[in-house]
Symmetry: D2
Subunit: 388 residues, 4 copies
């Protein structure tokens, strides 16, 4: 197997974007359990996100969600981020919480509502211009609950038209990243249900439009690493939303439900050139910490990605290729599993210390007193959440 | 095929309980879209439910949810229901919206919290004593999100202990009905995930404990009518929560996603003696009308159940048995499909008119002006919802 | 609702291709149950298929599978078909039953094996030139059973290369139709798992390459009619393999498992211009009659498609569009359901009689004595099957 | 975390039964790829199985399948096994490959066929009496492909009656173990689809009847370790059929598809007292090596179970309980994951050597020349398979 020292340099290339909303309250349709110390505004969210980066060195950027993270002065927010040692990243639009969007947003039959949804994306691009963000990420709640509720074809055509208008507004160095989702909150059809639809739509737009793959947005049993391979092959993998799930879009901590799947995904990312300095693929988390603490939840998440990336880098590609060429099914499978079963944690702890980071970021956070501090100081005001 | 006139008398035996919460606002974790005219209190919910019964003759009872439907005087609520031509039915407990229940209720490791959850059920039984309700329905959100979060076995034992305490408080004519659910809001395990667990738990309690089957609470592909058959065979089918789904617990209108599945379920209900005057099985709806109007949504739902019941009653049992005995696969299947494909709607319209009901309850509601009336009059106050 | 007389002319445009292999023995890995009267050669298969067309008028073509249907003289086979009143249709290749293909065919690492698989397709095109068939349908069993077994990306590139070679051999009026399948017989990954992959591959080839949608080849819960809509929108829907399933690729009679799904699919086919004289979309069955009689199984299947097509044609598009435009969720859904619940069988029986066909083809077949005849006469020889 | 030296003694208690049929040819409905050296008779199968035990010390028993392993003299077969260092284990019945069983076996409407299926089980008990086997394992292919094909309730009652007759024939130290399966080869319903049905059936029989849990026989997303917990809690877990799957009943190498799931299962086995000397739970493999070599496939499988058992034994139960009691979600989860991510392979290699076993059984097998030997010597005769 590849030696850890050989892969160590590549680990430094890893950067995972944190979602600002992971630090706010979240829950299910049944209940949102509030937690003490939760941020009351985007500035506090960024401070929390910065803790994750400070302890892991893995999370230099924070993704924003508009309007949840709307502030009067995005320049001030960017400076606050810089002061905390991080930067502002992807801007996420929201066209699912206005009453007008009950039956659709960029796909709506009503010209007024469709234009409103397009305008919202223009506003997001304005924010990007202020924050210097590269990516506009579009996840749509558009869909229907009942067969016949709307004409699915017409919606697809209007989607294409709306996306074109948004695309045309992008700056030269900006990208549009279109997320797909199998279901929820729409329960009969969603307008971008699978990678094929996202791929067909962004291909029609042009080179600055890419697909976003959220690991929790697939049908049961879907081979996600295959999609990763395919999108990299087609040059259209824009970004990841990492999380994990046992059932639907559970939004659990990445790697918690099926660590081996995360490994396989990262193996294909590396295989396809999606990892590291030379790649434009953005790695983001998109999770909900409904019952666990949020900041350590994010620390655990980026560590999971890092540990699994290390295992994926350890795969002995030469030996693997030889076994595959020989048609040695068990041998080739065994070479892959050998990397997966390697315990990279001690080497990673050393690696961290060599870079001035705590060997055990989870413990370092627990001992830092930061959690108790924000619980004590953030009294009053309204805790951030999804505003659902 | 059986003639409609032969089954008409049996149709009069149908009674479907409506959930009070179907008339309040509901939605997803992303957004609850409020609707005009939504009730502000349990009295208004019951008035709305009574509209459904008035127009269809199918929905003589309204299920309550505690604490959502808590009132100072349940006797007054019962009288209001009677004035409106309906009665109060099943009482549903709620142990998922108090902060104490974040990690569990009747399964919680903490004796205090567990007792609090048990006491809530005692309170529900007190309500039942006031309202004359027969059934206490227990759906638990208990579960965990991460492997290792709790000891699943210990939770199961505590569940048994808590249920026993609740069971012991039941009156002679009261029942405990335990619902199971595959997932949500817990995303790694739920403490009552399948009919087997509910069956094992209620069997340990005694004859007054039964299983509740919610049609949306199963793994993908589950043959639900088989479970209906099995629970009837074992004498443990207590009640149905009807709805439909394409993906998870979508809570769509019953019969909307897979009408043929609803037909097969009702065929087994009738086959197993679960239908009509001689049966104790309770038929309830449990749906969310997130994007459609709520009262007509409920009317559509009870009509769907009625139409499908009529089709199920039309199955020519004699011919079916003969074909099955002969091993005639296509013949037997064809006899079943013959009933399914029969358009019972004209005959049902006549049947309704013969009983003083409108031929087309959907149209009758639209023309009644009731919807516009409540939209105009129910101004101010706080609309009912799930309080999530 | 639209009147039956308005849609009757369009019903005459319907043509469903029958698979020759549906008349041979089939089964599962556990057992193939042989049936009396099963054909011993392609000529007998075509005679059986011709019975279906004779009684229904719906099935004018028979799809061949090479090598299962290999004969010395395809011209003779074509003449036999013409004598029986049908024609030869799509040619299906087979690269899954030669020992060389254990680890792959057109994706294999070994140049020799890959060329062998390509050559087999050249042979199929030769057959097409003899039979006058338009479509070469490619379903690949290629895939792996274990992570690491092979390099998935390399396989995809070799797939593209092989398909290009095959595509280049097509005549001007011939098409390549690439089928996708979620899983089986490969159990970790398949090389063409979803419509997106098939679409990306055929788009790279050119206008004569299209996607084949088999209704049983999707992940649980997949909205198939959405894919139909999308492929028609993109101009890439080449053909259907109709069947139905409750679980995996069960290959049951089309419409048997979820009639409402078949209805929704046909609604989108018609909506998207995929039905009738002006369309190039090929409609085929691909089913296994493991426990039911094969010829009546095929009759039942084409009738199911016809009945559901009639219902789909009955949808009142004008009223539907109006309700959708008004945002009337229940109204629009109701208009769709109105067509689905209409019993078109009596009108179709009349329509058949008006065209000299038996009113009840199932009964006509049973009374024809054909089944008993072939059971008595086809004695000796080896019954056709999959040769697995 | 627990130290390896503390768990080493418990590892010696592990025993995994091998299925004789794993050494024969297997495949899918599309193709069975024969392999060189495959056994021609039960004696050769047992010799192959003995290789696995010789190199791992983990597989002291071989399960038989009747009639596939029928021999004139089971005493001679038992002596052959003893000579090879193994013993004969569970006897598996087969009621799915006789033409009579096309529509059912122990559930069949026809008394004659039902009795024939019961008689087959009597014959299996006779074999058990000769071989000294404890367990009669019953997996039924019974089910239907089409709604209406048969009366599901009647089948369930006949199933109960047939099982009772078989149960009554058991000796005092013999057990009946009833397997359940979600689907395949039946595609609409199976007569024992879930653990609840198996549990209800065996509970009605008595203490010698138990449930068999095959890890590949569940609906997508099913939490299998929960079922393990529940069956152990109810005292009804008789045996495991280990394998793994990505989709349906793929019968891949145990631990290959989702290693973390195997870990969680074994954690619950140990938690519930199902592991080791004091437990009656039988651990078996039930896999198909369709594309990989069979003997190393079985070696890989028992090693996977052993490695995962070691990890499960390493869980620090005290610390886990403390974290769970404290409601520390991330802490408790982390303690579990700590054991999972521990690389136990070096310690297990040492442990093996300390017991006179090869450190690396896979390599030892490759270097043994056994595979080449049987490929060379087993020429002529008919290779064993499923006879489908």
């Amino acid at each position: 197997m590849t030696d850890f020292s050989d892969i160590a340099p590549r680990l430094a290339e890893q950067a995972i974007e944190l979602p600002s909303w992971a630090f706010g309250n979240s829950g299910t349709r049944f209940k949102v359990f509030a937690q003490p110390g939760v941020p009351r505004d985007p500035f506090e969210k960024i401070s929390d996100a910065a803790q994750v980066h400070r302890l892991t060195g893995l999370a230099p950027k924070v993704a924003l969600h508009i309007p949840w993270d709307k502030v009067d002065d995005f320049g001030a927010l960017a400076r606050h981020a810089a002061d905390e040692g991080v930067a502002l990243g992807t801007v996420n639009s929201n066209t699912f919480q206005d009453d007008d969007y009950k039956l659709g947003s960029v796909t709506h039959r009503d010209d007024r509502i469709r234009q409103k949804a397009i305008d919202h994306h223009f506003e997001c691009i304005d924010v990007m211009n202020e924050t210097g963000s590269r990516d506009l990420k579009i996840w749509l709640a558009d869909g229907t609950n009942y067969p016949g509720q709307d004409d699915v074809r017409g919606r697809q055509d209007r989607l294409a038209d709306s996306l074109q208008k948004i695309y045309d507004r992008l700056g030269d160095d900006q990208r549009l990243v279109l997320e797909y989702k199998f279901f929820e909150p729409a329960f009969y059809h969603t307008d971008v249900p699978d990678w094929g639809t996202s791929y067909a739509q962004v291909s029609a737009l042009g080179p600055k439009a890419m697909v976003c793959l959220d690991t929790g947005h697939h049908a049961p049993g879907t081979n996600i690493e295959f999609i990763v391979m395919q999108l990299l092959r087609l040059g259209k993998l824009g970004s990841f939303d990492f999380n994990s799930r046992f059932y639907a879009d559970d939004d659990l901590i990445v790697g918690a439900a099926d660590p081996f799947q995360l490994f396989r995904i990262l193996v294909e990312v590396i295989r396809g050139g999606g990892y590291g300095a030379g790649s434009d693929v953005a790695f983001m988390l998109d999770q909900c910490h409904n019952v666990e603490d949020k900041i350590p939840g994010q620390i655990r998440s980026v560590l999971n990605v890092q540990e699994m990336t290390a295992r994926a880098l350890l795969v002995d590609r030469g030996a693997l290729d030889a076994a595959q060429t020989a048609g040695d099914v068990l041998g080739a499978h065994g070479i892959l599993m050998d990397a997966f079963y390697t315990d990279v944690r001690p080497a990673l702890a050393e690696w961290r210390e060599s870079r001035g980071l705590p060997a055990d970021p989870m413990r370092a956070y627990a001992e830092s007193g930061y959690g108790a501090g924000i619980a004590a100081s953030r009294v009053g005001g309204e805790q951030a959440g999804w505003g659902a």
